[in-house]
Amino acid sequence: MTTVARTRKDVAVVAHLLRRAGFGATRDQIDQYVAKGYEETVEELLNPRVGQPEDQDLMDRYFIASVEARSPGHADPQWSWRLATSEKPLEEKIALFWHGLLAVGGVKLDHGLEMLTEIDLFRRVGLGSFRNILFEISRNPGMMYWLDNQNSHKGAPNENYGRELLELFSMGIDDLGGGAYTEDDVKAAARAFTGWASKPTPPPFFLGPFPMEFRFDASDHDNDEKSFLGETGNFNGEDIIDIIVKKRASAHFIAMRLYLFFVSDEPDEGEIERLTDLFQETDGDIRSMLRYIFNSDHFKSADVRFRKVKSPAELVFGTARLTDRFDIPDMDSSMLANQSLFMGQHLLNPPGVEGWHEGEEWVDSGSLIERVNFAASELGRRDSHGVRRMLDRVGSAGDDLEPEEFVEACLDALGSIELSPGSKTVLVEHAAQYRSAVSGTVDGTDRAVEMFQLIVSTPDYQYC
């Protein structure tokens, strides 16, 4: 392989990594990561520095209503800003993953402040052990309220949390509705979580919301013996979690969900089994599982590249990162979450405890129009830092490019995007028309911007 070919492959693989482990990157950022090296980039993504973002004060300054966010809509500017600008992309991506898997719906909770607290929880612990993630979410007051655990009492347990903990958060059910657990296990889990609840807060209607807090009420906890997944004892919620995470069904469930979110919409059972093993070998360490995924030949192969439908959040914030037009929070940045909503993903308000149905289900005729219009509009912002750099990059490729070379230069400038032969042929034919146009009627900048917009309007751009 020549140096040029090797470099091109390096760029393609790093670009792929950044699309999956984050929300994509500009071509310049890709170059920086290529220079750093693939495995070093994986480690940087997996080990984000700890601490509050330095621009949190600015976010709060311009969007004061989001500081005391009374609803998910009021909280939107906060997460939109992080998704569009965070220098710790995997931290946001893993928060999005858990937000969809351990889903708390804003419609019922209707507490934007708590939703942001939950996203922060996922940032903080989302790359750690699954056991700790389950423990933390079980002490999350928003989750306790969402799944009615404040109504679960000693002698009168509410089974909602215990059931979803097993069915949707850890062990799962098979296609026939069966599972690795029984109804008796659900009942035992519910009894073990009695007394776990959120503290009452004043109603938000006259002074705004108050931060929610977890409360364990020992007097309302069922201390009697329980049998759960073959073990018997005086279990509390923490014991239930410890038992759950030892089961291979839980390992397989999380391996499957990580694979579907980070690798491909089509499960590969061999890869998922290997991830399942790794879960059990590492006590469910999510960072170790992602390290394995990102460094695997399977992940880097062309077989899975551009084979996963972008979620609305991936499309919106990936495109926003590409155009790189937000230096300081503003009205446009605050409204990005609305764009995702228009495409079918209402961040901070998943449709139910199952989260979102992903993959091909993201795209229908209505959402496709929203996707194309949004992306084309963003790429038309030639005053943005990102588009200006793309134009410079295409310009530096030469003044007299053949149509195919011109399309290739535009694809490269957009962050090493690959197109199907059919899409590419159409774009090359379109580029050829520039040559037959009367000289001077369309300048080079206009041509490049139009080509950027055409590229992000292709079916291929809907995949990452």
Binding site: I64, A65, V67, E68, G73, P200, P202, F210
Partner: protein, 324 residues
């Protein structure tokens, strides 16, 4: 520990998207009649911005400057000022302009657009009026203060971006003292800077931190008629009071009781009242959450915009401050 030089008086306000009440009030000013003008910033996406006018006894009167980009409307309003004729000026960070209303809320004029030139703005923030009726506008992202005639004519400006003495780092609030000295809440430098009327630095107050005399993103500064200096210590959720020479005097953390409007709300919503009693967070309810601006009267009333609790907390001075 109780307050030494102030006593809590009462609170005006309730969270409300329109009419009686406020939504994230970021500024408060009084007119010559003693009416309270409150600027609700809200979340521009929810279109609840407005200036609302009420008496100090919580009688709601009217509102104006609601959401929009047409003349007489605001989108991301940040501050208000009233001149000696009670003309009301509102800065808008989204439209990069200043709108003037009469005291009844009728649109008078507006001027300004995005830019760095004279009379242009990049997110105009705090606004104050000197003894001659000229406007001083904190041109937030241009890191300068512009002096304008009452109808928007450019007079002069001073300030550059930076952290050195006299420079600004995302400045926000402004106050003009009785000698027309200019006080700026140099927000991201965690300090208050005092300038002569022509923009020469006189002194600096504060540094970063949580101790007395330190600030975490001070948003508002107000110099009372007797020279007392109030600083809305925004991210420390408190208001600090200083003598005119900069000596720290008192710290207010919020003492709110239920406003008349809140009490009425709970009276007619007993389920909500029961919910509140059950929560029992009465101490938390009292405290400031991002107080952003301070106003005062000559007879010692102090009005504090408690932004994230949708209310104005009012204190009364009980002892005159003595400069050390």
């Amino acid at each position: 520990m109780g307050l030494e030089n102030f006593s809590y008086s009462h609170t005006i306000g309730i969270a409300s998207f329109q009419g009686r009440g406020f939504m994230n009030p970021v500024d408060v000013r009084l007119d010559s009649r003693g009416l309270v003008f409150v600027l609700s910033r809200s979340n521009a996406g929810n279109k609840d911005v407005r200036v609302s006018v009420q008496t100090q006894d919580s009688e709601y009167l009217y509102e104006f400057g609601r959401w929009g980009t047409e003349p007489g409307q605001t989108t991301q309003p940040t501050a208000i000022a009233l001149d000696l004729e009670d003309r009301v000026y509102v800065t808008d960070e989204f439209m990069n302009n200043v709108t003037a209303f009469d005291r009844e809320g009728q649109f008078v004029d507006r001027w300004g657009e995005f830019g760095t030139g004279p009379g242009e703005f990049n997110r105009p923030s705090g606004i104050a009026i000197d003894s001659e009726g000229n406007l001083h506008v904190v041109d937030h992202l241009n890191a300068r203060v512009q002096k304008l005639t009452p109808d928007g004519g450019f007079i002069s400006s001073f300030g550059t971006f930076g952290t050195a003495p006299g420079q600004f780092n995302f400045p926000w609030g402004i106050s003009i003292d009785r000698e027309d000295g200019i006080w700026i809440a140099d927000w991201r430098n965690d300090r208050i800077q005092r300038f002569t009327p022509t923009g020469e630095l006189v002194s600096t107050l504060g540094s970063s931190g949580r101790d007395d005399g330190q600030f975490d993103r001070p948003s508002g500064v107000h110099v009372a008629s007797d020279g007392t200096v109030f600083v809305a210590d925004w991210r420390n959720d408190r208001v600090q009071v200083f003598a005119g020479d900069g000596a720290h005097n008192e710290t207010l953390i919020g003492d709110a009781t239920l406003s008349k409007w809140c009490q009425e709300f709970l009276d007619v919503n007993p389920e909500q009242a029961g919910w509140r009693q059950n929560a029992g967070l009465f101490e938390q309810e009292k405290r400031f959450w991002r107080p952003s601006a301070v106003e005062s009267t000559n007879d010692g009333l102090v009005f504090i915009a408690d932004s994230c609790r949708h209310r104005i907390q009012i204190y009364r001075r009980v002892h005159a401050l003595v400069a050390t």
